[in-house]
């Protein structure tokens, strides 16, 4: 744990990274002062003040919480189904042959089409929203895990069979550790994709959440509000990546490093 954190805070890219964020803020501030119409590009401090008042009123936490709930629910479903499908297709060629055409089609269906169809077929409700997001993500997870399952070491399979390891033991100690880098990759790529799709789902058919708020603000052309909600939620997602996903990835890879 301490190792992983030192890894982040002492990385040589930290200082340039901070400066580049600072430079973007300065550029934004200058541009906002030069424009004739401040309502189209409000200054950073205007947006910051909006975030502050949203946080103080509690509105931010309610809607961000709803969005986060949808992100997590569809994330868990997409990862579980994607891992199972990917493992199955990677290990059994027949399964791969039968499911691959469906997978290729699924990969190429635009997110918007899935969302609209889910709302029409299932109804304007939470189940449809979460299903639509999960359906968008499942094919991507499946492809990554299929790749990982094809790379599973046959010698370790033999070892497990020779010692008659049980199914669950095998999954837990032989298969999943080998898939961990692929799962971590799919998780990190997945969470950033999923929250963007969740906003669209909320924009189109929910009455709470960050996407719903952006819909309202878009109708009243309130750019400061749109930016405030977007930036606040980006911060939440970055925090999740930094505090949960990265440390977990580092822990899963501990055996690769030499310990003194």
């Amino acid at each position: 744990m301490s190792k992983a954190q030192r890894h982040i805070w002492q990385s040589p890219g930290l200082l340039p990274g901070l400066f580049s964020v600072l430079a973007m803020l300065v550029l934004w501030a200058v541009a906002s002062q030069l424009t004739e119409r401040p309502q189209v590009l409000p200054a950073p401090w205007v947006v910051a003040a909006r975030i502050w008042s949203l946080a103080a009123s509690g509105e931010l936490w309610f809607h961000a919480g709803m969005t986060l709930f949808r992100v997590l629910a569809s994330f868990v479903i997409a990862m579980a189904v994607g891992i199972a499908l990917g493992l199955w297709m990677g290990r059994f060629r027949t399964a791969d042959h039968w499911l691959n055409p469906a997978l290729v089609i699924a990969l190429n269906i635009p997110a918007l089409v899935t969302i609209v169809l889910a709302y029409i077929w299932i109804g304007l409700n939470e189940v449809a929203a979460i299903t639509a997001v999960a359906l968008n993500k499942i094919p991507v997870v499946t492809v990554m895990l299929r790749e990982g399952s094809r790379a599973l070491r046959p010698d370790l399979d033999d070892m497990a069979s020779a010692f008659r390891m049980g199914r669950l033991e095998r999954l837990r100690h032989v298969v999943l550790p080998q898939l961990a880098p692929y799962i971590a990759g799919a998780a990190r790529a997945g969470i950033s994709l999923i929250w963007k799709i969740v906003l669209v789902v909320e924009f189109l058919g929910r009455s709470n959440g960050v996407g719903f708020k952006i819909h309202l603000l878009f109708s009243s052309f309130d750019v400061a509000g749109v930016l405030a909600w977007a930036l606040a939620f980006v911060a939440v997602m970055l925090l999740i990546d930094l505090m949960i996903l990265r440390p977990w990835e580092a822990r899963a890879n501990r055996w690769r490093r030499d310990e003194a």
Binding site: L156, A160, S161, W255, R256
Partner: protein
């Protein structure tokens, strides 16, 4: 353990011909043969890892395998590499690690150990499964002479103590005598078993 093999082929290539191999608890047999003759193939059939052969494999004995490579779980520590695959308890695993000279290394990951140490860990793991018959696939190859000699003595001592039988496959004609194993050779195309001629080195 008894194998009545009619034949074994990969696609259209016949690797092993008709042969019979019977080994019981306490018996030691070494199958000798040059590289590529089909020794690993034979051992995989006996271990139940390859079921695509014609013939019959019978017997109720508990088998354990020491593979050509250590074949450890890189993401599990040394002690867990014994307890997880075999399901044995920690006390036995610790005791076996001591017996193969790995005491104090229980918490290390395999890649922190030398090849010789990894091989001894694989040996400890096999004995942790309390086998009636131990199957070994060239377990002393690619070790330096001194390390190999130590590991051969260790194997012999563990076999003596546990009373397990042994099927060893190797290309080194010197190994059977040092393990007190009855040598048979695998030769021909497709390969069959022959009683070994007394080798000059033995």
């Amino acid at each position: 353990m008894r194998l009545d093999l009619t034949e074994k082929h990969f696609s259209d290539r016949k690797v092993l011909g008709a042969l019979v191999l019977q080994v019981e608890r306490g018996q030691r047999v070494a199958v000798l043969g040059p590289s590529g003759i089909g020794k690993s193939t034979l051992l995989r059939i006996i271990a139940g890892l390859d079921r695509e052969f014609s013939g019959r494999l019978s017997g109720e004995d508990r088998l354990a395998v020491v593979f050509q490579e250590p074949t450890l779980l890189p993401w599990r520590r040394a002690l867990e590499n014994i307890t997880i695959p075999t399901g044995c308890d920690t006390a036995l695993a610790r005791q076996l690690m001591g017996e193969v000279g790995l005491a104090g290394r229980e918490g290390q990951f395999p890649r922190q150990m030398s090849l010789g140490q990894q091989r001894r860990l694989a040996l400890a793991r096999a004995f942790a499964a309390r086998p009636d018959i131990l199957l070994m696939d060239e377990p002393f190859a690619s070790l330096d002479a001194e390390t190999a000699a130590r590991m051969i003595d260790l194997t012999a001592a563990l076999l003596d103590r546990s009373g397990a039988g042994l099927i060893l496959v190797t290309h080194d004609a010197g190994e059977p005598a040092r393990l007190g194993a009855n040598p048979v050779t695998l030769s021909g195309q497709p390969a069959r078993l022959q009683q070994a001629l007394p080798s000059p080195g033995a």
